[in-house]
Structures are given as C-alpha cells and as structure tokens.
C-alpha cells in the first residue's frame, strides 16, 4: 500500500548534501519532507568510514571550502572539532579538483570526526529513510510517485532528484509524461557527465611516520591526483592513514576493464597500481600498508567549473500539477560541496515561493 499523499509533501531522492540542504530548508518552512537514500548512511560523497580502532577516514570529499556566508554558517553549526584551515600544508603543483579552493576569499574546513559530520548534522531531525533505492517515477494526475525497491511507494506532489547527473537522467527517462521542459532537462544532463574516481585507503603499521604535508597534488603522475594525509585531521591518531585518489581519466580506463567489478575493490589490480604509484611518489613505506580498503566512486565529481547557474523545477500539467526538481553541485556555479548545498537551498526557496502565490 502506498502511503497517503500529503498535499504539501516533498520527497527528496538522495541524501547527499544538496538533498539534505533542500530537505532542511523545506522542513524549516513547515513542509512535510521524506528523504530516500539508497545507501546505509547519509552524505553521499561527503563520506567517512571507520577503520580498526574506530579512527575516522574521509574517503570521498577531502575537505570543505566556500565563501558564501550562509554556507560557512552551516559549517560552523556542526558540533565537534572543526579544523579551520585544513589543509594548510599543501605540496605539489598538480591540479586540485577545484583550484579556486585555494584562492584568497575561500575558507577551508575539515572535521576531526570526519567530513560526514556535516551531512549527519544536516540530517538531524529529518525523516531520512536509508537503504531505499528509487527505481522509477510515476506521474498520475496531480501526483508524482517514486517507486522504491522493496518498499511501498510514497505519493507526493513534488519530488526532488538530488543525484548524480546520470542517475537523475535515468529516472527522467522513465517518466511517461513527456514535456518540453523534461526533454530539455534530460538533454542538459546528458551534456554534463560526471567523472569517476578510484580511491584507496591505506593504514600503516605503528612507527611509520606520516609525511610532512596535509595534501599533495602530484604534478608528475598520470595516475594519482590527490594524496591526502588523512590522519593529520585526527586528534591523537592511532595509525598513519593515507587516502589516494586517482585521476578521472585513469579511473575511467580502469573501471571500463571487464575485471573491474568482478572482485572486491581492495584486491582489484587498480588498487595495487595506486599503491605502487604512491610508493614511487612518497617512498617504499607507502607501498606496504598494514591494511587496505578501496572504493569505486563512479560519480565522483561534476566536470569542473562548467555547471549550470540554478536548480531546475519542472512542471507537469494540472492545477496544481506535479513538480520535479533537480538539485546537486551541477546546479549552482562553481561546483563542489558549497554549490551542492546552495542548489538545495535555492530549489527549496523556488518551491516555497511558488506555493506562497
């Protein structure tokens, strides 16, 4: 049985930063909001896992940065130890994911509890339902209903897709009611494919000293884009932990190999190749971790700096008709976590402004 429709209910698909910021803004305005998330936890690419001994490791977004006063206030709101100015020790002249992160007005922040402290804080008090994969969208009359794998569908008037471009596009493709706006949005999303990033987490035996930097962007590697000294974010870390993230092109080549998905990520040939490259750049110690984990980010980041300027809110026939919103880092200038957050807030404002009329 479908849950009954709330006339003002909004369903948000995706509990990444943009989905959570939209949900928070709508909830704050008194709207009933349900957030559906495919994974076990919230945050999307603002991802932290714990290794032996409970030490947090950020294996997606390495640090947060921005200039918008509201975004910086949202970061300041996160309880626990914020590390203002991490990273301050940066090595290498390779290209950062977002070079503007290091320009003067930008503030940079990391969290001692891990970057996921931010989405966890955003999700507090929201109706977030994890392990709910949305498989389709059905539009009937004044409602739009996300179909959920293994759970009852939820009927709403407004649905927000806060997903990677490819994931949103796949859901848009399955909507039966075609409108010019829908086709345009699908065509726009097709122009902006996201980039993959293969990632390795390496923990080193006691006695291995951490390298003398927070972040390194190697200028002489076609494999590694970012070397993060993750344990330098932690208070009294038990182990030196490094996170190695590969260039998009290298990641794509390795993801497309037939064997890429066959085995556990940590034993995949690409994980070893990343470690070998780390050893070449940092020294032999880096190639011999005591424990190793790996993660395939198929949708790691939007194409840098070429996103749209605003979220999209699509309208379907009816009075009032169903609405489908699109949010995410693509839908705000600049890209990155700040853009994702801003796009969610802006989409929520667009929805609220329409409903006030």
């Amino acid at each position: 049985m479908a849950e009954p429709v709330g006339e003002d209910r909004v369903v948000v698909v995706g509990a990444g930063i943009s989905g959570l910021s939209a949900a928070r803004a709508l909830t704050a305005a008194g709207r009933s909001v349900v957030v559906l998330e495919r994974a076990k936890g919230v945050g999307g690419r603002c991802a932290t896992r714990r290794i032996e001994g409970g030490q947090p490791v950020d294996f997606g977004v390495t640090f947060l940065h921005g200039t918008d006063p509201d975004f910086l206030a949202a970061l300041a709101d996160v309880p626990g130890g914020a590390l203002v100015d991490w990273p301050s020790q940066i090595r290498g002249s390779g290209r950062p994911c977002q070079p503007e992160a290091f320009s003067r007005p930008q503030r940079r922040v990391a969290f001692a509890d891990g970057v996921a402290a931010f989405p966890r804080h955003l999700a507090r008090g929201l109706d977030v339902r994890t392990e709910r994969r949305v498989t389709g969208l059905e539009i009937t009359g004044a409602t739009i209903t996300p179909a959920i794998d293994g759970a009852a569908p939820i009927v709403a008037r407004t649905v927000i897709l806060a997903l990677a471009a490819e994931q949103s596009r796949a859901l848009l493709a399955g909507v039966g009611a075609r409108t010019p706006g829908l086709d345009t949005a699908a065509a726009l999303l097709a122009m902006m494919p996201t980039r993959p990033c293969l990632t390795v987490i390496a923990a080193y035996p006691a006695g291995v000293p951490g390298p003398p930097f927070h972040l390194r962007y190697p200028e002489d590697s076609s494999i590694l884009q970012v070397i993060a000294h993750d344990s330098s974010k932690r208070v009294n870390p038990a182990a030196t932990v490094m996170v190695y993230q590969a260039h998009a092109r290298w990641s794509r080549e390795h993801l497309e190999r037939p064997s890429a998905g066959a085995s556990a990520a940590a034993s995949a040939p690409w994980a070893r190749a990343l470690l070998d490259e780390a050893a070449r750049l940092l020294g032999p110690w880096a190639g011999a971790p005591s424990s190793l984990q790996a993660h395939r980010w198929t949708h790691a980041r939007a194409d840098g700096g070429a996103g749209l300027n605003a979220p999209i809110l699509l309208h379907f026939p009816g009075d009032p008709g169903p609405r489908l919103g699109l949010a995410g880092e693509l839908f705000s200038p600049g890209g990155g976590v700040e853009s994702a957050w801003m796009s969610g807030v802006r989409l929520a404002r667009m929805i609220l402004a329409e409903d006030k009329r």
Partner: protein
C-alpha cells in the same frame, strides 16, 4: 613628447588605493586601472579598463568627449557576446546593438559605452553554447534558460553603477529600450536623468524583425526561426518596428 594629464587619466592615480565597501549584495568594487586612446572604425574613443574585486572579468568603458563631472551623458550598457560581437553570429543582434551604441555615442558631444564582460549576461560562454545546442536539438529553451541562469542582472548593475561612479559622472541619459534598467541604476545612486531609445537601423540581417512573425509568444526569432536567447537585457528595436511595449500581434 607632451604628456597631458586630463581629468580622465587622473582617475588611474586617484584609484591606485581605492577599496570601498562595494556595491550591491555581491559587494563589488572596481578600480580604474588603465586609460588609452582607441581609434575605431566608428570613430575616436578613449578606452578605460577596470579591475574588480569579485572575478577576473576586466570590464571596460568606451568614452567619447569629456565625461568627468558632466551631466546628461548618453550611456549604453552592453553585455559581452563573443559569438555576436566578434564572430558576427546571426543568432542574436548583439553586434548590431554594440555598433549602433558606439555610433550613437560617437555622434554626440560626449558619451559612455560600458562593455560588461559578462558573456550572455553572466551565463558564461559554455552554457550559452549549450543553450544553442539545445535549440539545435529542437528543444524548448525556457527551462534551460532558467537553469543556465539568464535572470539575475543584479551584479551587472552594481558593477555598472560603480564604474559610472568611478568615472565621476554627474548624470546620464540611458540608451535602452528597457526602462527597468534605469530603476536598477538609480537604486545604486546613479542619477539617471532620462532615456534614449536604442533603435537599430534596418539591414539585410535584421529585416525579418519588421515582418509580422518577428515576435511570437514574446520571443524574437532569428533567421532560422529559433527564439533568441536573452543575451542583452534589452529588447531589439529596429527602425520601423512597433515599440516593444505594445502587445504582440495576436493575428
């Protein structure tokens, strides 16, 4: 060699350490950084280059005559359009609008054309080309325009107002078909004494505007029948055309 320091070239020295609160919600501040003579096909101008504190966009002003401290200066705002201004694209009228603006100013005793380096009103070149490509696919660009960002001119006006303040203008006569622009500049403390309509003479490329199908559902169509993107926040008026304030032909 005679070096003559007139009122305009003194602005560079004056602005050397200029840093103010900034204009508008984006708190944008500009500085005069360079001034030079610029003979053009249209006539002789001086060009003033500005630095701003928000982005790497180097806005410029084309100046005719003595403007510092002057009143009722004919002034035109133009948004950069690489495809139109430089390449001569017929998907928009930007080049005609720019050249006509320069010509009008050249025909006066004094005048200013602010050339705002905000490609397609801040949309950026990449997104503009994407919007064109959506049109090529035959898609409706209304939603795309919203997402691509053809809306928010706030920063443009703040920059323009500060540029005019930096040029020490007393008051301006705004060359525009969009009276809303006057209000926007007035909000930032510019004395807008009046409006001069911006009317482009007909030529082989814009003659279609004069035909009955020139306007459909509020959009101007290009020679291929595609609606124009709103690259200038100013409606095109070709000599002999109805004034833009009149309702579109319902017939």
């Amino acid at each position: 060699m005679m070096i003559e320091e007139d009122s305009l070239s003194r602005l560079v020295t004056r602005d050397r350490d200029h840093e103010c609160e900034g204009y508008g919600s984006s708190k944008v501040c500009v500085r005069v950084e360079g001034i030079a003579e610029l003979p053009t096909r249209v006539g002789h101008f001086r060009i003033v280059a500005f630095w701003n504190n928000r982005d790497g966009k180097e806005h410029v002003a084309m100046i005719k005559g003595d403007v510092v401290g002057a009143t009722d200066i004919p002034t035109r705002l133009h948004s950069e359009c690489l495809t139109g201004d430089v390449m001569g694209s017929l998907r928009c009228d930007c080049r005609d609008q720019l050249l006509e603006g320069l010509k009008v100013i050249q025909s006066m005793d004094r005048g200013i054309l602010l050339y705002m380096r905000q490609e397609g009103r801040g949309i950026g070149l990449i997104n503009k080309i994407r919007a064109y490509s959506l049109q090529d696919l035959g898609l409706d660009t209304v939603e795309a325009n919203l997402a691509l960002g053809f809306r928010d001119d706030e920063r443009d006006y703040a920059v323009a107002a500060h540029m005019l303040k930096s040029l020490d203008v007393g008051s301006i006569q705004l060359i525009t078909n969009n009276p809303n622009k006057m209000k926007q500049l007035t909000q930032y403390g510019i004395n807008v004494a009046g409006r001069i309509p911006h009317v482009i003479p007909p030529n082989e490329h814009n003659r279609f505007y004069l035909e009955t199908k020139a306007k459909r559902s509020g959009h101007f169509l290009d020679p291929a029948g595609r609606p124009h993107l709103a690259e200038q926040s100013d409606e095109v008026v070709v000599e002999g055309m109805r004034a833009p304030s009149e309702p579109p032909d319902q017939g």
